[in-house]
């Protein structure tokens, strides 16, 4: 039993997710990601069960652990009550703690997720807000969204929201004191450390790739990881 396995086993999601997988493949049969990507959650469970650190190290630096959509359909159907989706969450956490996520194209995307969603949580108190869903970056949102985005104030007012307003209601402004509490929670519980790790390891990779790192989503590195697709992720 190696050090990496021990670190995985200390994650409560790992404890909850893997009790002697019997390799039946039910998780792979139900998995939406396994249908789209060259991905097999059964193989992930089998690999981790070997407790072989060399194999686990390979997983942590691979694209494989980033294919899951965390729908947790696997949890419903597994005859052993296992949850490969939770196992994936433990693997992704460890990959980010140790910096291995920057070794794969899909793993590197974590900086984009951190800067889009992670930073939004701390700056606004929301994971998502209408102003950040830029129609130029989201053509799939369609012309009605483009119209709404141009007219956010009056449309949201008509629909009963309290957009950027004080007090309760949809899309209200979260007060500075509430945001301060959120920040303190992140500092005390490891959330800030996770964010800092993602930034620090990504910076090393950006330097290695010769791409401008920046501090927001417009940097060359973020734009690269946000759009890069080597077309090697799907079934042949």
């Amino acid at each position: 039993m190696g050090e990496l396995y021990n670190r995985l086993a200390s994650d409560i999601r790992f404890v909850e997710s893997l009790k002697a997988c019997i390799n039946c493949g039910t998780c792979t049969a139900i998995c939406p990601a396994a249908e789209f990507y060259a991905y097999d959650p059964r193989v992930v469970a089998t690999t981790v069960q070997t407790q072989d650190d060399e194999k686990i190290r390979e997983l942590l630096g691979s694209d494989v652990i980033w294919y899951c959509g965390e729908c947790m359909s696997c949890k419903t159907r597994c005859p052993r009550g296992n949850a490969p989706g939770l196992l994936i969450m433990a693997l992704r956490g460890l990959s980010q703690d140790l910096g291995y996520f920057t070794e794969s194209e899909k793993g590197r995307q974590q900086l984009a997720v951190k800067r889009i969603i992670g930073d939004q949580i701390l700056s606004s108190g929301y994971c998502v807000r209408p102003d950040i869903v830029d129609p130029a970056l989201h053509p799939e949102q369609g012309p009605v969204w483009e119209w709404e985005h141009k007219n956010l104030g009056p449309v949201l007012d008509k629909l009963g929201a309290n957009y950027n307003g004080d007090g309760a209601g949809a899309l209200r402004k979260i007060s500075d004191s509430d945001l301060d509490e959120l920040k303190r929670i992140f500092e005390i519980t490891g959330g800030k450390e996770r964010y800092d790790n993602i930034e620090a390891f990504s910076k090393l990779k950006a330097d290695e790739m010769g791409l401008e790192f920046g501090t927001d989503t417009t940097s060359d590195y973020v734009q690269h990881i946000y759009t890069a697709n080597n077309q090697k992720h799907n079934h042949e």
């Binding site: 974590q110 108190g125 929301y126 009605v144 483009e146 629909l159 209200r172 929670i185 946000y226």
Partner: protein
Amino acid sequence: MKLEGKRLIWQEYQKEIADDHYFYARSCIRQTFFPGAEAVFVKILKEELGKDIHDEKHHTSCTGIGYHSDVVPFDTTMTVVARQFALMTEAGYENYAASCVTSFGLYTEILDTWHHFPETEAKIREFLFKATGREFNKPKNLAHASDIVYKFRHQIAGKAKYKLVDKDTGEPLKVVEHIGCHYSKMFPHKGIGGAEYPYVLSGMIEAWGGEVIDYPERRHCCGFGFRQYLVQANRGFSLSCSKKKFDSMEPYEPDMIITNCPGCPMFLDRWQYALSEMEGKTYGKGKNGIPVFTYEEVAGLIMGYDPWEIGLQVHQVPAEPLLEKIGIPYDPDRKFKGKNGEDLGMPESPSYLKFYADK
């Protein structure tokens, strides 16, 4: 499987839903894309059913999308959720009502984790107190907002002006119900009807006069997949999941789709547009697409609320064919106007999907 068999399974998965006095936690995605749905929920509970619902101004995101895209660690998310519970406790409430399915799944996961690992709960209590000075009681009752509408579905039907019925033929509308994955796939006993045959939306559809379509990919994910949509390079995953569902439901000729998760209606709506632009393919009759609704919007519609007051104009797939089939009146000229009739311009017409604004 025969319907009777499914009903037996549904009966095994019932849950207690509080009768009144709810602490309401809003959803980031529902507020962003369908804020009218949350307004309808609060209005129906307060004004139609006379219930007490607390709209808390201090609560934040539960961090659920950050947690499930793995940038936020579990300890952090658990402590943010503990803060929501502290706000509920301080406001004098015991019944937690979550608008978001991701949040509901997360609350369920956290309460289950604390049940099996009390030392983790103790650690999170310490974190919360250290960070905010707050303490909390766990909710006595945890419900998703759709559970509450399900509980009162017959009262809503009793007050409704319309039914999910074709006004010309008297036939029930054919309805696809789509349940957000995190509603019950992780903890089937926490959802009405469980994970395989969830009944939370089917119960509403039947009570309101419609007929539920049972199609092969009924339980398939809409394709959000968190990082799979958030990062542009991965969006083919999201689109493919939705397409699989549309292709599977198309032969049953659904009149509408109803969802209980905040993200699913956005994806099922927008990906129909994207597919129409990419392939010229539309899934409804006459290039209409299949209109997609939240359960709150449908409750509002049958209660007779104005379609443009509850937000149906911000859907890309037009609702008008369904409104006409049921016989719900609407003013096409007011669709894209502001609250007081001000001119806000007009969206562009899609290439294939029918556009009703210039009717």
